[in-house]
C-alpha cells in the first residue's frame, strides 16, 4: 500500500447552479489541481447523474485512479451513491471521500462568492488529504437472525407480525397490556366501511395465532436490549395474570364480584371488576387479576379456587432477533378539566362517544336519556398554540379526527340526531371528503370558530349551551342548545420512556418517534435494524397504520430474510504492538465492545469486538498511545485534514 503511487480524481459539482451560483467551481478545480497525487480534477454539472457517474468510472479506468473525491451536496444525500460508483469502477469504496460544498458552503454563504470559494477549496483539500491517507476497508459481514421482535400488539404490531411470519421468519410479539388489539377494539365502527374495531382486530389475531412461527407475549415488557442490526438480544419480562383458566370457565363467578375500578377500556364511563376481561373476543381469553387494585384477595381465592394462582411470578424470556419493529401507538388526548367544558355532564371525547355507542349497541344515550342534538368541537388537543417555551402543547394536526368525527356523525344522523360541527378547517382529505359531503347533505350544520375565540360550553337546565362566534356568517354570535358535546380529540404518542432509553431511538419536537428521513425513509430510525410503524411515528388512521406496519415489516424483512448482512467497517481497532493496556478505552466504551485478549507473541492487550463496536470513537480520544484508532477515520487522517484545510488559500 505504501508503495502504491497515489492517483486521485477530484470532481467538483455545479449542482446545476446550486453550488456554482455562489462558488467559483472552476477556481476550486484550479486551486486543487496541483495538490500532490491529484491526477484528474474536473467540474461537473450534476455529479450524481448517471453520465457523470460513468465519467468517474471511465476516468478511474483510463487514468488508473486509486482515490476519488467528489465535492457536491451533503454526504447524507450522495456519499453512498459515490461509494457505489467507485466500487463499480473496481476500487475499494472506502478510498473515497465526500466533500460537502453545498449545504456547508454555497447555500450558507450566498453573500460572498470569494469567501465561499475559499471555504470550498479548504473543504476539498481536506477531502484530498483524507483519501491520501485512506486504506481499503471491507464491510463487516454479519450473520443475521431470521427473527423479528415486534413491540406493541395493536393493529400495527399485529399486521407487521402477520406479514413477517408469512415469509417464514420467526416473530416475537410483545404487548405491554394484558390483551392484544391496542386502541382499535375500543372503536364502535370505523370509516369508511363501518366495521367494528374489535372485528378488525379479531381477524388479524385469529390469523396470527394459527401460525407456529409466532410467539405472543402479553402483559409483557422489554427489560433489556443489546446488540446491533441482525443480532439483537432482548429480555422480555412477562408479568403474571394470576388467572389460569379461560374467561368462559369463570365468567359467571366473576360476575359476582363488585364493580370497583374505572374501566379504562370504556375511558372511565363504566366500572370494571378486579378480574378483568375487557370485551368479548379479546385475546388471550385468559382474564387478568388486577392485583394492584385488589383489596380483598381472600374472597377471590374463595370464589375462584384453583382458577387463581397468586404464587405466579414474573417470567423472563431471552430472545435473539435480527430486527425490531416498534409499534407502541398512541393515547387519545385527554382534555384538561374545563377545556371546552370537559368535566361537565354531557361533554365527552370522541373515543368516549365510540364507547357510548358500542355500549348502547349503536344507540346513543347518556345516563339513560335520549340524545337529539350533538355538537362536535374539532381540534381539541391538536393545532394548539404555544404561549411559552416550556409549555408542552400539540402544535400538530392529528390527521384522523375530522374523518372519524364525520363518519360517526353520519351514523348519528341516520338515527335522526341533529349534528353541529364547530370546526377550524375540515380536513377530510382524499376520499374522506365524501363523508363530509354526506354529512353536509344530510343537514349537518357547520360553524367555523376562530382559534383565539374558542367556543364556550355552559349548562342550561338539562341541556348544554354552546356559545360560539361563527366566521362563516361574518362573526355572528351563536348560542346552540345541545344534549351532548363531543370533543374531537387528537392523538398523543404513547409515553414509553424506559423503552426509548433501552432502544436509544429518539422523539421529535412533537414527541412522536422521528424517522431517519421524513420523505424517503419514513419507517426507519437512526438505529440500524430498528423500525417504527403506526401511530407512534405520527397520527394516522387504521388504513394508513396498516400500510406503515407492512412497510416497516418490509424493511425488517430486508434485514432478516438474508443470511448475512454487511455493516459499515467504521469500527475501532487496536494495534497491540502499541497498546500499553491503560484500559482507558475499556472504561469509556458504552457498548462493552472492548475486552482484553491475549495476542500471540505480544501478550495481553485491548481488543475490539467489531460486532459490538458502534464506531463512536470515544476510545480514540482517551488512548494515551494512539494504539486504538477508528478504521475509516484514523488519527493520521484527521491530522492530515486539519493540516490541508488550514493552509492559506491564494485565489
Amino acid at each position: 500500500m505504501s508503495e502504491e503511487e497515489l492517483r486521485i480524481g477530484v470532481y467538483v459539482c455545479h449542482c446545476g447552479g446550486n453550488i456554482s451560483d455562489y462558488v467559483d467551481v472552476k477556481k476550486v478545480v484550479e486551486a486543487i489541481k496541483g495538490e500532490p497525487g491529484v491526477v484528474v480534477a474536473k467540474d461537473v454539472m450534476f455529479a450524481c447523474s448517471d453520465s457523470s457517474q460513468n465519467e468517474i468510472i471511465n476516468d478511474v479506468k483510463e487514468h488508473n485512479l486509486n482515490r476519488v473525491v467528489v465535492a457536491s451536496c451533503s454526504p447524507k444525500l450522495h456519499e453512498l451513491t459515490f461509494r457505489e460508483t467507485v466500487k463499480r469502477a473496481g476500487l475499494n469504496p472506502y478510498l473515497y471521500y465526500h466533500a460537502n460544498i453545498r449545504e456547508h458552503v454555497s447555500w450558507a454563504h450566498t453573500d460572498t462568492r470569494e469567501g465561499a470559494t475559499e471555504k470550498a477549496i479548504r473543504h476539498v483539500r481536506a477531502a484530498i488529504a483524507y483519501v491520501r491517507n485512506a486504506k481499503p476497508l471491507e464491510p463487516i459481514r454479519q450473520k443475521t437472525m431470521h427473527a423479528v421482535l415486534v413491540i406493541g400488539g395493536g393493529i400495527a404490531g399485529l399486521r407487521a407480525a402477520l406479514d413477517l411470519s408469512r415469509t417464514g421468519l420467526n416473530v416475537y410479539l410483545v404487548e405491554r397490556s394484558p390483551f392484544l388489539g391496542g386502541r382499535t377494539p375500543q372503536l364502535y365502527r370505523v370509516y369508511p366501511d363501518g366495521r367494528r374495531g374489535a372485528d378488525i382486530v379479531k381477524d388479524l389475531v385469529s390469523e396470527l395465532i394459527r401460525r407456529d412461527n409466532v410467539a405472543i407475549y402479553t402483559n409483557a415488557e422489554i427489560k433489556s436490549f443489546s446488540g446491533y442490526i441482525g443480532n439483537f438480544e432482548v429480555e422480555v419480562e412477562i408479568k403474571p395474570r394470576y388467572i389460569k383458566v379461560p374467561y368462559d370457565e369463570i365468567k359467571e363467578k366473576i360476575k359476582e364480584l363488585p364493580d370497583e375500578i374505572p374501566d379504562e377500556f370504556n375511558y372511565g364511563l363504566t366500572k370494571r371488576k378486579v378480574i378483568y376481561y375487557p370485551y368479548e373476543g379479546a385475546f388471550p381469553r385468559i382474564p387478568v387479576l388486577d392485583l394492584d387494585h385488589c383489596s380483598d384477595v381472600e374472597t377471590i381465592k374463595e370464589l375462584l379456587g384453583d382458577a387463581v394462582d397468586l404464587e405466579q411470578k414474573p417470567e423472563t424470556v431471552k430472545l435473539k432477533v435480527g430486527a425490531v419493529i416498534v409499534a407502541t401507538g398512541f393515547d387519545p388526548y385527554e382534555p384538561k378539566e374545563g377545556e371546552f367544558g370537559y368535566g361537565r355532564q354531557g361533554v365527552v371525547t370522541l373515543p368516549q362517544l365510540h364507547r357510548l355507542m358500542d355500549l348502547g349497541n349503536g344507540e346513543l344515550k347518556l345516563n339513560g336519556r335520549e340524545i337529539r342534538d350533538v355538537a362536535f368541537v374539532y381540534c381539541v388537543g391538536s393545532r394548539q398554540k404555544k404561549s411559552s417555551e416550556e409549555e408542552e402543547v400539540n402544535e400538530y394536526c392529528s390527521r384522523y379526527c375530522c374523518n372519524a368525527a364525520m363518519y360517526i356523525s353520519s351514523l348519528l344522523m341516520e338515527q335522526g340526531i341533529r349534528t353541529y360541527h364547530i370546526f377550524r378547517d375540515i380536513r377530510t382529505y382524499g376520499r374522506h371528503e365524501r363523508m363530509y359531503d354526506e354529512v353536509s347533505r344530510k343537514g349537518g350544520i357547520f360553524i367555523k370558530y376562530n382559534e383565539d375565540e374558542p367556543p364556550e360550553i355552559e349548562e342550561e337546565g338539562d341541556k348544554l349551551l354552546l356559545k360560539v362566534k361563527d366566521l362563516l356568517t361574518a362573526g355572528e354570535q351563536l348560542e346552540i342548545p345541545v344534549d351532548l358535546v363531543v370533543l374531537v380529540t387528537g392523538m398523543v404518542p404513547r409515553k414509553t420512556p424506559e423503552l426509548d432509553e433501552l432502544l436509544r431511538i429518539s422523539r421529535g419536537r412533537d414527541r412522536f418517534y422521528v424517522e431517519v428521513h421524513p420523505k424517503l425513509r419514513p419507517v426507519e430510525t437512526a438505529i440500524g435494524g430498528i423500525f417504527i410503524a403506526g401511530a407512534c411515528q405520527a397520527p394516522r388512521d387504521i388504513c394508513e397504520t396498516l400500510s406503515s406496519a407492512s412497510a416497516a415489516a418490509s424493511k425488517a424483512a430486508t434485514v432478516t430474510l438474508r443470511d448475512v448482512i454487511e455493516l459499515e467497517p467504521f469500527k475501532a481497532e487496536v494495534d497491540p504492538n502499541i497498546c500499553d493496556l491503560s484500559k482507558k478505552c475499556i472504561e469509556i466504551c458504552p457498548y462493552e465492545a472492548i475486552e482484553i485478549k491475549n495476542y500471540e507473541g505480544i501478550g495481553e492487550k485491548a481488543w475490539v469486538n467489531k460486532a459490538k463496536c458502534m464506531g463512536c470513537g470515544a476510545c480514540v480520544a482517551v488512548c494515551p498511545t494512539e494504539a486504538i484508532q477508528l478504521n475509516g477515520l484514523t488519527n493520521e487522517q484527521i491530522r492530515a485534514m486539519i493540516e490541508a484545510a488550514g493552509k492559506e488559500v491564494i485565489i
Binding site: G16, F46, C48, S49, D50, S51, Q53, N54, L77, T81, E84, R88, D163, R166, T167, G168, P192, D193, I200, N213, S382, R383, E395, Y396, C397, R399, C402, D425, I426, R427, Y429, G430, R431, H432, E433, R434, K448, L471, L472, A474, D510, H517, P518, K519, L520, R521, P522, Q537, C543, L546, S547, S550, A551, A552, S554, K555, A557, T558, L561, R562
Partner: protein
C-alpha cells in the same frame, strides 16, 4: 401515446419477439412508490423487473422543486434512489416500455407482455452529451416542463434522468438526419434501425405503481386556463421554482415579466362534482403552501394570496409548516373563486366569494394566477388484465379489496398496488405503500411457493 399506435407504425424491420424471461415480481411504474417497492424486494433477495413507460425512471417527483414540509430539494433526494434502483443487482429495468397484457395462469404465475418502444438511440453508446439535441431543428413543447419551454424532437429527457441518454420523439421527427450527423460517438448512437421489442415475462406477483395524472384545468372554463397565458397550473410553478427550472428566473408566460402579485386557487378539479371528482386531492394545499414559501424566498417583494376552502395540513409537521407560511406573510383568503378575467396587459381579475366576510362577491387583481390542480387516476392499467377484473372505485382509483385489513391488496390475488395508483397522496405515504406492497408480495410468494 398508446401501445396500439406503436404497433401501427412503420419500422425498419419486424417487431422483435423475445424469449420468455422469469422474475419473482413485476413492478409497473418507476415513480417513487415503484422504486421503493423494487428496492425493498431486491434487498430481500427477490428478482424484480421494473417497467417504466417514460424514457427515464423517476415518475413525478423528479419534476418537483422542493418537498414539503422539510423543503428538501426533490431531485436531490430522488436521484440517489433512481441510481440505486438502476444499479441494483436484483433489479432489471425495462424503460420506455409499456405493459400490454397480463394473464393470470394460477397463483404465483402471471404471464405478461411488455412492449419496449424504440428510443432510436443506442443506449450502450450514447453519452448524453446533447449534441443531437442542439442539432435538431424541431422545437416542440417539453412535457417535462409542462410546455413552459421547448425541447427538440431528439432530446435528453432531463438533467438528472436515469438513464441520462437521448430519445427520439418520432411524432415530431422530420427525418432530416441532423442528429445522426452531429452525434460524436463512433458509430453514431442515433439508430433508426431499432424496432419495438415484445418482452414475455413470467412473474410470481405484480405491483401496480402507475401513479396519476393532473386534472385538465381547461375543464374549469371560468378560469380560462389554456387561453389566458398567465393562468398556469401549480406544476408549472413547481418547475419555475426548481433548481432545474426551464427559465433563468420566475417569469410569467405572457410577456416574461417577473410576477409580483401571485394568486393560488385551490381545489381546482377536486372537491368538485361538476367535473366528476368529488374527492379532495390531498396534496394541493401543501404543495401550494410550499410554493408560496419558495416564492417568498425567490421574489421577496412579491405578494402571494391563497384562495382556499379548507387548508388541509394534516400530515406530520404539516400544520407547523402552514403556520410558518402564515407568519411569513402569505395571505390566506377563505373563498371560492367564481371566475377570472384578463386585462389588456395580461394581468388578471379574480372574482371570489369572501366566505369569512359574509360571502360577498369581491375582486382582486393579480399578475399571475396559479391553479392548484387535483389528481386523477391513470385508468389504462385496469384494461391490461386478461380474464381478471381489477376493481377500481367510481373515480377510477384502484380499490383495495379490504382497506381496513390490507390496504395495498387489489381484487386480483397476487396483484398489489402502491402510491397514487390507489389515490392521491404525498411522497412519504407513497414510499410507505411501496414498502407495504413489497412486503405483501414477499408474503404472498412465500405462501404460494410453499416456503411457509
Amino acid at each position: 401515446m398508446s401501445v396500439k399506435s406503436w404497433y401501427e407504425r412503420k419500422y425498419y424491420g419486424e417487431i422483435e419477439d423475445l424469449p420468455e424471461e422469469e422474475y419473482d415480481v413485476l413492478v409497473i411504474g418507476g415513480g417513487i412508490a415503484g422504486i421503493q417497492a423494487a428496492l425493498d424486494l431486491g434487498d430481500m433477495g427477490f428478482k424484480v423487473v421494473l417497467v417504466e413507460k417514460e424514457p427515464s425512471i423517476g415518475g413525478f417527483m423528479y419534476k418537483l422543486s422542493k418537498t414539503f414540509p422539510t423543503m428538501d430539494c426533490a431531485s436531490c433526494i430522488a436521484t440517489p434512489r433512481m441510481a440505486q434502483v438502476f444499479h441494483h443487482p436484483m433489479i432489471d429495468l425495462l424503460i420506455y416500455s409499456e405493459v400490454e397484457e397480463i394473464e393470470k395462469k394460477g397463483e404465483g404465475d402471471f404471464r405478461v407482455k411488455v412492449l419496449e418502444k424504440p428510443r432510436f438511440v443506442d443506449s450502450s453508446r450514447c453519452t448524453g452529451c446533447g449534441q443531437c439535441e442542439l442539432a435538431c431543428p424541431v422545437i416542440v413543447p417539453h412535457e417535462y416542463d409542462w410546455g413552459l419551454a421547448g425541447r427538440k424532437a431528439v432530446y435528453i429527457p432531463f438533467d438528472t434522468a436515469v438513464p441520462r441518454i437521448a430519445v427520439v420523439d418520432l411524432d415530431h421527427c422530420i427525418y432530416c438526419g441532423q442528429c445522426e450527423r452531429a452525434c460524436p460517438t463512433e458509430p453514431p448512437s442515433i439508430d433508426f434501425t431499432q424496432v419495438p421489442k415484445i418482452h414475455h415475462l413470467k412473474v410470481g406477483a405484480i405491483i401496480i405503481a402507475t401513479g396519476f395524472h393532473l386534472f385538465d384545468a381547461r375543464l374549469k372554463e371560468n378560469y380560462h386556463f389554456g387561453e389566458y397565458p398567465n393562468v398556469i397550473h401549480a406544476m408549472h410553478m413547481d418547475r419555475l421554482l426548481a433548481p432545474t427550472r426551464p427559465y433563468h428566473a420566475i417569469l410569467r408566460p405572457s410577456d416574461g415579466k417577473e410576477p409580483n402579485n401571485i394568486a393560488y386557487i385551490l381545489c381546482v378539479g377536486s372537491r368538485d362534482k361538476t367535473v366528476n371528482n368529488p374527492n379532495c386531492s390531498q396534496i394541493c394545499c401543501m404543495y401550494s403552501i410550499k410554493q408560496a414559501q419558495l416564492i417568498m424566498g425567490a421574489l421577496p417583494l412579491a405578494d402571494v394570496t391563497i384562495y382556499y376552502i379548507d387548508i388541509r395540513a394534516f400530515g406530520k409537521a404539516f400544520e407547523e409548516f402552514y403556520q410558518q407560511a402564515k407568519d411569513m406573510g402569505i395571505m390566506l383568503v377563505k373563498g371560492r373563486v367564481a371566475k377570472i378575467e384578463q386585462k389588456e396587459n395580461g394581468d388578471l381579475i379574480v372574482w371570489y366569494e369572501d366566505i369569512e366576510n359574509g360571502g360577498k362577491l369581491c375582486k382582486a387583481e393579480h399578475d399571475l394566477v396559479v391553479l392548484s390542480v387535483g389528481l386523477l387516476p391513470n385508468k389504462e392499467i385496469a384494461n391490461v388484465f386478461k380474464g381478471q377484473k381489477l376493481e377500481v372505485d367510481d373515480v377510477g382509483w384502484i380499490k383495495p379489496v379490504d382497506e381496513n385489513a390490507n390496504p395495498v391488496e387489489t381484487s386480483i390475488r397476487g396483484v398489489f398496488a402502491a402510491g397514487t395508483a390507489l389515490g392521491p397522496k404525498d411522497i412519504p405515504d407513497s414510499v410507505i405503500e411501496g414498502g407495504a406492497a413489497a412486503m405483501q408480495c414477499a408474503a404472498y410468494l412465500s405462501e404460494v411457493r410453499g416456503r411457509h
